[in-house]
């Protein structure tokens, strides 16, 4: 292997050297009303947005999920959702896989923020909210603080100092899972959630 590495690097170093060009100016857009832009963009790709408060989000969520006939909900204990049918993802996936693949109807996760320009949630899975939580259940509910919506990706990368401390996995999620592989016809929920519900805490 190291021979391949040495050969490839040697060929690249033997090639003509050129001065790396500077990055020309280009600025991603910013918005007067970031929540408004975020909402417009994520709704355009089939996301659902509810503006709630720290006091009202749990009963509001319960109402939404009841309307969708959700029985089992996956949520981390620190979210303080104390319904009977709530389970925590507190075991390694090897022991939890069967339940996760087909036994959970909805999952609630926090977010690290959002991007107004593209209507994207920033999700950083961790010990309490593992990677598959926002992926396998048919409904993903994401909690977003309105103040955490940035204008664009470049801004949030810098503001939150991503480059200095990248987590195991960092996700931008913009709407539910979708495909247009069959005759460019949109279909939702091909592999991930069919529905994405964003609760914006104001």
């Amino acid at each position: 292997m190291s021979e391949a590495r040495a050969n490839i690097l040697a060929r690249l170093r033997a090639a003509p050297q050129v001065q790396p060009p500077e990055r020309p100016y280009w600025q991603a857009p910013s918005f007067n009303d970031r929540l408004d832009r975020f909402r417009m963009m994520i709704e355009a790709v089939h996301g659902e947005v509810h503006v709630v408060t720290e006091q009202t989000w749990r009963p509001h969520l319960r109402k939404i999920l009841a309307e969708k006939n959700v029985a089992r909900v996956l949520a981390a204990p620190h979210l303080g959702i104390d319904w009977d049918d709530v389970v925590a993802y507190d075991a390694p996936v090897e022991d939890f896989k069967d339940q996760l693949v087909s036994g959970i109807d909805a999952c609630v996760t926090t977010t690290r923020g959002a991007i107004a320009e593209t209507g994207s949630l920033v999700v950083v899975p961790d010990v309490d909210e593992p990677r598959l939580a926002s992926l396998l259940p048919p409904i993903h509910v994401a909690l977003l603080k309105a103040d955490d919506i940035a204008d664009n990706l470049a801004q949030i990368i810098e503001a939150q100092g991503w480059a200095a401390a990248m987590p195991t996995n960092l996700l931008l999620i913009s709407g539910p899972s979708k495909t247009a592989d069959i005759e460019q016809t949109l279909a939702y929920g091909v592999h991930g959630p069919k529905e994405l519900i964003v609760l914006v805490l104001q």
Partner: protein, 473 residues
Amino acid sequence: MAADFSTRAHDALNNPQLRANFRRAMDGLMTKRAAQFEDKDNWTALRAKGAAIKARALAQLPDLLEEFEQKAIANGITVHWAETTADANRIVLEILTAHGAKKVIKGKSMVSEEMHLNAHLEAHGIKAVESDLGEYIIQLAGEAPSHIVMPCIHKNKGEIAQLFTDNIENQPYTEDVDALTAAARQVLRREFASADAGLSGANFLVAETGSLVLIENEGNGRLSTTLPPLHIAVAGIEKLVEKLDDVAPLLALLPRSATGQAITTYVNMITSPRKSGEQDGPRQVHLVLLDNGRSRVYADEQLRDTLRCIRCGACMNHCPVYSRVGGHTYGSVYPGPIGKILTPQLAGLDCAGDLPHASTLCNACVEVCPVQIPIADILVRLRTEAAEPSASPAVKGAGSGHSAVESAVWKGWQAMYANPAAYKVGTKALSVVGNLIPAAAPLLKQWTSVRTKPKFAAKTLHQLAREKGYDNE
């Protein structure tokens, strides 16, 4: 499959279903992309930045590869280097064998297509299951992708419905897209849950952080890189970018150019395997860096621009040739304009020398390329390399299209146009005997097979000018 491009193109052009499928798809994609870049000043500035970011990364490529490797290893990712696709296949097989893996679930990866990885794994008793819906469909059909972003774009609902009925147990015939998608979801969920390993490509490799960035809409890429205990990624060495910040402008270009989306549903940044205490994610992450001729392309300053490509497919969506003949006609993994310059450089002009000629040089691809690859200039360069190779560094297979007769004709043409007396004699001779040369004469034959041979005028331009009283040639 027919042996050369022109034969395959002829077959494709006479297939009305195929042409209708492509026409509809390409029209839709062009319209959606145009809507994303309505602000021309912003588009111009953004693509200049995208091009500079990729050119900048290429200018520092060996250093960035080493920086990336160092960071990735520190993050717990195992990095492998492969000079050829055979090496890359061997490495992937060794990793899988060491883990006793029998089934691999795959996210969409063009490099794995370049490696013909599935066939290699099958030959060694390992099942490779494609999980991107389009890739799954063409795997059922036993075909290759016909587009780098939308692999089954050549198929219509009816053909897909029939494939599903024939291949999925208890699947009734339906052309309902939601029902077809749901059927695939059900089958592939079981495959995901039982896979021993996941395989993916990568859209960007970030040297600054040692991260892999993957974009997708379906979630199968996330599943492939998260659910199985082992993740293997394969990527070309040109995927490097210098800073995490560089990803932002490229993400503002790639999905908008490809499918007219503001962004893909998922942007998946992977920086390490599962850490202690984490509940999911693969326990090992391996990355195979593939050269397969890229370092040779890199050796030429002009051709190096080919390696800026971010695989959006906009060039093929806008190509008047691709949209009429479809992806399979190119007979290579990468079709369309980018394929016409990449394939002959990777495989050699001796193997794919007809591809640089499958173009009218209309420049549509150059106008839409988000990283400003001078595709038309490179096409002309490759045509020249095939006929009259430059001194060095040689393109693989350079000179393979050389013809002594053709070369002599052009040399004669050059001599005639450089000398007034020779020009006078030559044009006069052609005005007399030119129309006697049969259309089926050697050299003319291919050109006149689809065109009428032009008629030589009875008098040369100089003669006509003199008759009108102009005498100062």
